[in-house]
Symmetry: C2
Subunit: 391 residues, 2 copies
């Protein structure tokens, strides 16, 4: 038996693979429920969630054919105010939660017609979405270009500051005694149909009786997962730009989502007057490069909607890899060997869905109640053979 | 008499205020000529020269009404091959000198007409500039957009890699024993009409019998300079973008300068396939922010000329402050109190003019021959009263 170089960490009750917003929120909840928790991530908080804008948009992100996801998103949005309050209470850190609603604006009549179609769908679901003429839109947000064609208002779609939330979650986890291992997981270890821990890329192993897979776009690449529970996650590349207001530049008052000659973009104002402009969507494998084309198009579209963007300063261009599934909804819940729990594939909705996902995973692991709405998102729904029984 | 905290540095023969390309090249030349030299700069090599593209463009930058500057630029260009060779011999470091010429391309017929006017001027001065039809332009550089309207070729306008040159100059200075003081100069100290050194922002003083002002845009803000020798330098803000070729993206073969619907831009390919795209020009005081508008316009103009830009990745957006004078030409030579030498105001031509400026300053300081062409750029030319005698 080889003599180890350093004492191995004590076995954890739970190993969370991935320290993004979902992994951190889950670790925090599990630790608060009494479990010993270890998060494994080479650079926690600096994946897709670092690039994200932090929109909480159950209505604005409601798309045709994604009705189950809309229900999940609405339930998740309802949890945010108390989640944010609890996080701030515990850490003293802000989350940047701003409840100013959002607008969806069409740049030309064809964009507006597309928005009308989406609006009809959203209202058919009973969602809180209000049609706006061009005049009403400009009265709601005076910085909109005179040329916009109108759009919609979503009074219940809000935002958090993604980086503040990540920092607060890190602090909350640290304060509760969650351990962090700065490494990559190569493989989930399974013996006799029970997980026993994980093997890191360097070859070391960590022992644990529960493994939560919250590795975003990399969730499907982990070794050791049986094929029928491997989450069908792939990366969708997105770029966000950070802009800073110049001296005397007027500040945007609320989130503006846009459809600009058929292209989507959004402009999210922070409490300090800065803006997050996003987001392109492209399949580029695991590259996190920032395509010049995406930067151009985002700036072009943002200034078409909001000419004031010209007065801002570009401080950052960042790419993130949103973890996407075939139906754009996350993969949640126990699957396969005892002790394996999936919490991945949150695509455009990582921040929105994180509190609900964390509560659901904590429920599955500890036996506490699991929000019913989360039970429809098991990996079994992608099975091509006979559908397995629900967990 | 207060007891100093640390021993004061030995008095230098020469204090160079500013560690940009001009200050570093000058320090290197002065040290090689036997002087003890001290360079004072809080962050040498990271001012305007860091943002620059490194074009050596005596013809492409030849503008109406700037005939004296054109002569200086041609003389400077002629010095570059031996300067670069010597720098590489001494340090073992590359300069990225590429002698592939450059193109000037008009995006539309009106741009092309403007280029024709410039061409007529350039050829009236006997400069090596060749007219190109659209077909000839695309045959010279196949990556040009099919829509371009034609332009010109400047076979003698080359480039260096600005950051490689700065690194090599730092190494050359270090190797020769030039001292570096990481601080800002508040004031040039003068006694009985002789310079005695400089006072740093923190209040410390450095003694030296010669002070070379090579502080770029800040040259006019130094204390202690008599009004009639204060260089009339102001900052012109410019943004450059760095782009990296994607896998399989074709590489640009030569510098492409463009006139795109009346706006200037350039695209400079490096030996590794990366591009430098520049440069906006705006008066924004001493701000080094990167305006969103400039990034948009540079990308829009570059992709209008070269659609392949869409396949590149944006790695950096940097602003620099080009030191400009009323006639766009530098301010060179001894002025005012004995021991004061000006070497600033190089505007768009810092890299091009640095070797000649360095030789000229070394001549003025050590008594070696001064290139005759440099003698026309004394600060006295801006005097509003009687013109002082040439130095």
């Amino acid at each position: 038996m080889p003599i180890p170089d350093a004492p191995a960490p004590a076995p954890a009750d739970v190993i969370v693979v991935g320290g993004g917003v979902v992994g951190l929120a889950t670790a925090w909840r599990l630790r608060a429920a009494g479990a010993s928790v270890m998060v494994v991530d080479p650079d926690p908080g600096h994946g897709a969630g670092w690039a994200a804008a932090g929109m909480l948009a159950p209505v604005g992100e409601a798309h045709f054919g994604e009705e189950p996801l809309v229900l999940l998103a609405l339930a998740a949005a309802a949890r945010w105010p108390s989640f944010a309050a609890e996080l701030t209470d515990e850490t003293g850190l802000p989350t940047g939660l701003l409840s100013t609603g959002s607008l969806l604006i069409g740049a030309d009549p064809s964009d507006r017609a597309s928005i009308e179609d989406v609006l009809a769908f959203q209202r058919s679901l009973g969602l809180d979405a209000e049609r706006l003429t061009a005049t009403e839109a400009r009265s709601a947000e005076p910085l909109l270009a005179p040329s916009v064609a109108g759009g919609a208002r979503f009074p219940g779609d809000h935002q958090v500051d993604n980086r503040l939330v990540l920092a607060a979650l890190r602090a909350a986890c640290g304060g509760e005694g969650v351990s962090f291992v700065a490494d990559r997981v190569a493989r989930v270890d399974v013996e006799a149909d029970r997980v026993t821990g994980v093997t890191l890329e360097g070859g070391a192993t960590l022992a644990g009786s529960v493994v939560v897979v919250a590795a975003g776009s990399w969730s499907g690449t982990l070794g050791g997962l049986p094929d029928d529970v491997r989450p069908p996650v792939r990366p969708v590349h997105g770029v966000t730009l950070r802009l800073r207001a110049g001296d005397g530049t007027p500040w945007l008052g609320r989130v503006v989502r846009g459809l600009v000659h058929g292209r989507h973009c959004y402009v999210v104002p922070r409490a300090d007057g800065s803006l997050v402009v996003g987001a392109s969507a492209e399949e580029r494998g695991f590259s996190d490069a920032v395509p010049a084309r995406a930067v151009h198009d985002l700036l072009a579209d943002a200034r078409t909607l909001l000419p004031v963007v010209d007065e801002y300063e570009l401080t950052e261009a960042t790419a993130g890899l949103r973890p996407t599934t075939p139906d754009n909804a996350p993969v949640l819940g126990p699957a396969g060997p005892t002790g394996l729990v999936l919490a991945t594939g949150h695509y455009r909705n990582g921040f929105l869905l994180a509190p609900l996902t964390a509560d659901a995973v904590a429920g599955w692991v500890t036996g506490a109640p699991v929000p019913e709405v989360a039970r429809s998102f098991g990996v079994g729904r992608f099975a091509t053979g006979p559908v397995p029984a629900a967990p």
